[in-house]
Each structure stands twice: as structure tokens, then as C-alpha cells.
Symmetry: C2
Subunit: 393 residues, 2 copies
């Protein structure tokens, strides 16, 4: 039969990254494309111990329905950590658990934006969240990114000229896909602009704990005197991506609406994963574990940059991330980026075409995203040597 | 600051059941209100064993991102089970895993309905899914329920007179909240009407495995020659509600759109819960476990009906479910149902006012929902004795 597909989904294609991820299930392909954290970053032994203890000591809580807001102990621990370490959250704020930070972004947009409202974002930005906005029929307006974050002039111009701007979506640390970090000055300026033009900032920080170079910068949420920042945190890159545990810290009025929206989606985040995340935060090895994964990514990113310098035509530009999982390469003008990416796949190396991350899906791009997280060091060397052999002419 | 809350959520209140559930966290309240499965129904020991084995043998799969469609082994097992035991699913159909059947209902509506489209449902029906529809700004038109399921005349009339009807949402087995089962004749007639008026049937079957009396009836999906039935299954009532694992079996074209929508929500269902569900299906004790929980609910439901007959004024009508978790009581005309429910809470017994389940949230109701799943047998006896003591005049 013929199906009526909703307008909100009929134009939306499956995420290019998720599709490439499926293609890279082939273990012979060098995985520079996926957004996966390094498998060796998962604290497998302690998760096994935590899980066994939870199912021994408190199995019914792990297997029974929980409240939508999340496991109370986890909420308090995260709330304290956000306050004590990151100086975020006041008495007007509430912290709730979500099934990954992506769900937090979707719920925030669902609570705050009507169809046709505009969301500003870095351009390029994370395709998963952009698609969530598209599925809510929001307009997305991309703002160019400079080496230290958003182009502030372009941001202010958009705030002045775009219709019904409700929200700015931003990944200030080691941004996906570029690896770029927003400077402290720009964080302050962005908050001031949000205040001037009365919009909400949706601050997505999945990679913030993965800084392997330089010093931590303040979260935009830490400047939030008005209650206009909704902060998204995640366990995906420090504990496990497959457990699907993230959290939202934002003004209670907004967060409570997000909870209502979450009741209509997955009711609550799975309890056993939430309880494992709780034990992980309580674990006395937690700080050392974070240091260990930072060292891992420092090493792998260093190998990737060394390989780029060794193998790539110097006309290919690349970012130098201080953390996270990704770096961003830009081909010289005149080179056909999509053809380059197709050749790479044919030669056994998967990279993500930059156009996948564009705010405007039909905009042209000269860039592609590389991850150093998933490949082994040997694969990094080999993959870059293959990419370096692709002719640019 | 003042917040702009989206139109889709500004009218939506937190689910009355979720709120009552929070209230009943007080262990001194007798829990006739919650929708929780019986804690003694969870196969705690095997979950502990499965979890340990998964985290020993395949920890990276359990902790890494998975594909949105779900864990492949789980998908194949469910697909085979649906085919072999329930005669559901053909080559045009696809089965994917979701984070609970509730998410499946939300994704189906998101994929198939635009704002302002009409969904028909049993009246009363499951508030969680009704609220999911409301959050998508769908019109909900309730169809009265008789002892053997939907009033077919009212259904056909609604199909003739309501605007833009896309879908019928139905829980054919031991319906929530009434406990009523749709007869085989009515299942066939409903499918024929869906065909005649070209709508989709969303068949939600969370309680189907919990039949403790009578014989299994065919799923509406088993009649589906056209590809117009989207079937929702769940592990919440046979394995664990807190693991949040459900599934959807429906026409590929629809299911693939639901997958795109899921990418924008929680990306994929948590892997460790999916892998535990997989082992649960493979477990040779699975059929005996199902028999065990059916016996448990048979016993508890029997106690509840005996208690009603012992303590209740005979003018209070009640359903006699053949399975599931709930039964439905109706007070005589003239009794103030909400006052009755408030008195019950004051006396330490939580029940859910029937109005919570009404398709039209301002419609009046004389009914309330009782569950026999959560309370112990002692609590069932005690709680019904308390309810019986409430004056109806």
C-alpha cells in the first residue's frame, strides 16, 4: 500500500554518519569515519564488577520502572560534581538524566521551539543533533567557525536578521566535527549576545572531559545568571557510549517540560546503565581513569597529526584539537571533496565528507572529518599513508 | 527570565500516573496505582548470570555504540519468534528494537502523522501513549470499549466523520487500563474497517504474554495482508521494565522512517539491556519462566477479585481480566469518583482515577484502575478492605 509519511520525516534522510558507521562494520575498512570512542577507553573490568554488585545488592531497582527524572543518587552526584568542579547550576536549575546527550538536545528543542522557529548553530556542527532539529521542523542557521570558535559578527548579524531565533546550539570543547575549542573570551561574548537578544544557549559538552592539552576553560553554563543556558553532559566518552546515559542541567521550568516530553518517548533511561554510571562516579579510580583516557587520546591524536605531516600534501589544512575525538581536514580549492572521500573508501579508508555536517545540507564543502579514537595506532599510520597517496589533481 | 515553551508541550501536564507513581514511592501506601510489573516476576538470578557473561565475553559490544535498528541477534530472534509462534511478519516487514514499546508508539506517530491529524484509540486508553500523541499535536478521538473490545459502530462512525484519520491505536490483550481483551471476531472486523477506510493500526501488546486464563487470540498483525499494522512488543512485563527494551514489527517503509526518528532521539537502545534480552530469549528456562509469572498474576488477580467480592459494595462494577496487570472498577452513578480516590489516598491506598485515561481529558469518569501486580497478597486484602470501607453516599 501507499503510505502517508509525516512532513517532518519525509524529507529527512538517515544520518550519513550512521549509514557510514554501518558500512564500516566491515573490519577491513580503516575506521577514520565513525564517532565511536576508543574501545580501549572503556573501563571493562570495573563495569563488570559494578554490574555484578548492583544485580546482587539492588536487583529490583535495576529491573523495575524508575522515575523519568532519573536515578536519584546519580542525579545528586552529577549535580554536586557540576557545582563543585565546574561551578555550574544554582537553585533555579534542575539536573535530570537522559538517554544520551543527543536526547537532551532533542528534548530541549521540543520544549522550547515551535515548528518554523530558528536555531543557530556552529557551521559545521554535529549531524545527529541537526537532524533532531530538522525532525522537529526547525529552521537551522549555521554560523561560521573560526579557530577560536564562532564568528561573533556573523552570530550577531544572524541574531538581528533571522526570524524567531529561539536558541543557539554550541559544542564549545573540541567541537564535532572540527575539533575546535571556543575561547573563554568568546564564551563570555556569546553569553552576552544571548542575553542581549534573549535566546537560550544549548551547551553540548560530550567531549569536555577529554582535554589532553592546555587548560580547562569555563563552561558557558558557569556564567549563567539569567537561567538561559541548558547544559548537556554525557557518559558516552568517559564510561560507555552503548549504555546511553547523559544528563541535562538547566532552568527547572525548561527541564520539567523536557521531562514531560521524555515521558512520551522512552519513559525513563534504563536503570542498570544509570546505576553503573552512579558507581562509576563513586569509584575511587575515576580520576585516574580520566587521566588514562586523556593520555590515550593524546597519544593517538599525536600519531594522527604526525602522520598527516608525514603523508599529506601540505596544501591540505588540518585543525590541532586539544581534546576530543576528531580533527578536520580541508582540501585545496578545486579538489572534488566527495570524489576524494569515495576514493578513500575504495582504498579501504572511511572518512566522513564535510557536507554531512553542514547546517545547509546542500552547501558545498572542501572538508572531511577524521577520528583518531577508533583506529589503532597501526591503522592511523597505514590509513594516513593511503589517504596521502590520493591524487589531488 | 520568561521562557517561551513550545505549543506542543505548553498544554501538556506531567502524566498523572507518573506523578502518582512518585507519590507511591512512600512504602506505607498500598500500591494499587502504579503500572509496575510485580517485582517477584523479574528473573533476577539469570539476569545476573547473563550480565556477567556478556561483560566477560563481549564487553566492547555491550559498551560501544550500536546501530539504531538494534542488536542483530536480538532482532533475528524476535523476528523468528513473531513468525513461528504468532504468525506475524512477512518479507515486506522489518523488526527493530526500541527503548520500550512506548517509544515505538511515539516513533510510529511521528513517522505517520502530521500535526492536526487524528488518531483513534480505545476510550479509556494508556495515558503514556496518549500523551505522546498529544506532544506531537495530534487529535485524539476515543472510541468506547465494550466487554469484548471496541464498539464497532462507534469506530466506523468515527472513520466516516473524523478528519484526517491516520491511525487506530489499540491494546487488544488485557488492555490498560480496563483489562479488557478484544475478541477474535472484533480483531478481524477492526482489520477490515482499517482496510475499508485505509488507516494504519498500531497494535500495542505489552501484556500479551501474561494470559493466565482462556486461550491466546491471534494478533491483528497476523491478519495483515496489506502492510497496515505496526506491532509493538515489549520485554517490560516478562523480563524487566527498567531495562527499557521493546520492539516494532511493521512495514519496512514505515519502520525505516521510525529508525530515522530514533536517530534523533536516543540514537539506539542501550546495548547491555539488549544483550540481556537476547540471552533471555535464548535461555532454556524461558518458557517455564513465562508460566511462572502467569501463575503469579493468576494468583494475585484471583485474590483481588475475591477481595472485591468480599469487601466492595456490589454496586461497584469490575472487569474480570484474563491476563495483564489491571482491572477496572466503576462506581455507581452519583458517587464522586475523584473524591473517592482522594479518600483512598488519605486512607493509605493509591488507585488511579479513571479520568487520567480518558481520550478527552476533561470528560467525567466514574471509574478507577487497580493493579494486582505491585501489591503483595497481604496488601491486596488489606487495601481492598480499606477501599470497601469508603462510604459511597
Amino acid at each position: 500500500m501507499e503510505y502517508h509519511i509525516s512532513e517532518r520525516l519525509s524529507a529527512l534522510k538517515p544520518s550519513a554518519i550512521r549509514e557510514i558507521f554501518k558500512a564500516t562494520a566491515d573490519p577491513s575498512i580503516i575506521p577514520f569515519a565513525a564517532g565511536n570512542p576508543a574501545p580501549e577507553s572503556f573501563p571493562v573490568d570495573v563495569v563488570r564488577t559494578f554490574s555484578a554488585e548492583i544485580l546482587q545488592n539492588d536487583p529490583i531497582t535495576a529491573l523495575q520502572y524508575g522515575i523519568t527524572e532519573g536515578y536519584p543518587t546519580l542525579r545528586s552526584l552529577l549535580r554536586e560534581r557540576m557545582k563543585n568542579i565546574f561551578h555550574c547550576g544554582n537553585k533555579e536549575d534542575e539536573l535530570v538524566v537522559v538517554s544520551g546527550a543527543q536526547q537532551g538536545a532533542e528534548l530541549a528543542a521540543k520544549a522550547l521551539c515551535d515548528e518554523g522557529d530558528t536555531v543557530l548553530c556552529e557551521d559545521p556542527s554535529f549531524i545527529g543533533v541537526l537532524n533532531a532539529f530538522r525532525s522537529l521542523r526547525l529552521r537551522i542557521k549555521g554560523i561560521p567557525v573560526e579557530d577560536d570558535g564562532l564568528d561573533l559578527h556573523a552570530l550577531e548579524k544572524a541574531l538581528q536578521t533571522e526570524n524567531r531565533v529561539r536558541m543557539l546550539y554550541i559544542i564549545p570543547n573540541f567541537q564535532n566535527p572540527t575539533g575546535i575549542t571556543t575561547s573563554t573570551e568568546k564564551r563570555k561574548a556569546i553569553y552576552a549576545l544571548a542575553r542581549k537578544y534573549n535566546i537560550i544557549i544549548l551547551e553540548d559538552n560530550p567531549y569536555g572531559e577529554l582535554r589532553f592539552s592546555g587548560s580547562n576553560l569555563p563552561h558557558i553554563k558557569s556564567f549563567d545568571e539569567d537561567g538561559r543556558v541548558v547544559y548537556l553532559g554525557s557518559f558516552s566518552k568517559i564510561l560507555s557510549a552503548g549504555l546511553r546515559v547523559g544528563y541535562v542541567l538547566g532552568p527547572s521550568i525548561i527541564v520539567q517540560k523536557m521531562v514531560v516530553a521524555k515521558q512520551g518517548e522512552d519513559v525513563h533511561t534504563a536503570m542498570l546503565p544509570q546505576m553503573i554510571a552512579t558507581r562509576f562516579l563513586q569509584w575511587d579510580g575515576f580520576p585516574a581513569h580520566l587521566e588514562k583516557i586523556r593520555a590515550l587520546y593524546r597519544q593517538k591524536c599525536g600519531k594522527m597529526i604526525a602522520g598527516i605531516q608525514e603523508f599529506f600534501d601540505p596544501r591540505i589544512l588540518h585543525t590541532n584539537p586539544d581534546g576530543g575525538l576528531f580533527l578536520w581536514c580541508t582540501l585545496p580549492k578545486g579538489v572534488d571533496m566527495l570524489a576524494y572521500c569515495r576514493t578513500a573508501i575504495d582504498k579501504g579508508v572511511a572518512v566522513v565528507p564535510g557536507s554531512a555536517f553542514a547546517a545547509d545540507p546542500v552547501a558545498s564543502s572542501q572538508s572531511f572529518r577524521l577520528t583518531f579514537a577508533s583506529p589503532s595506532e597501526k591503522q592511523i599510520h597505514e590509513g594516513l599513508s593511503i589517504l596521502g597517496s590520493i591524487s589531488l589533481s
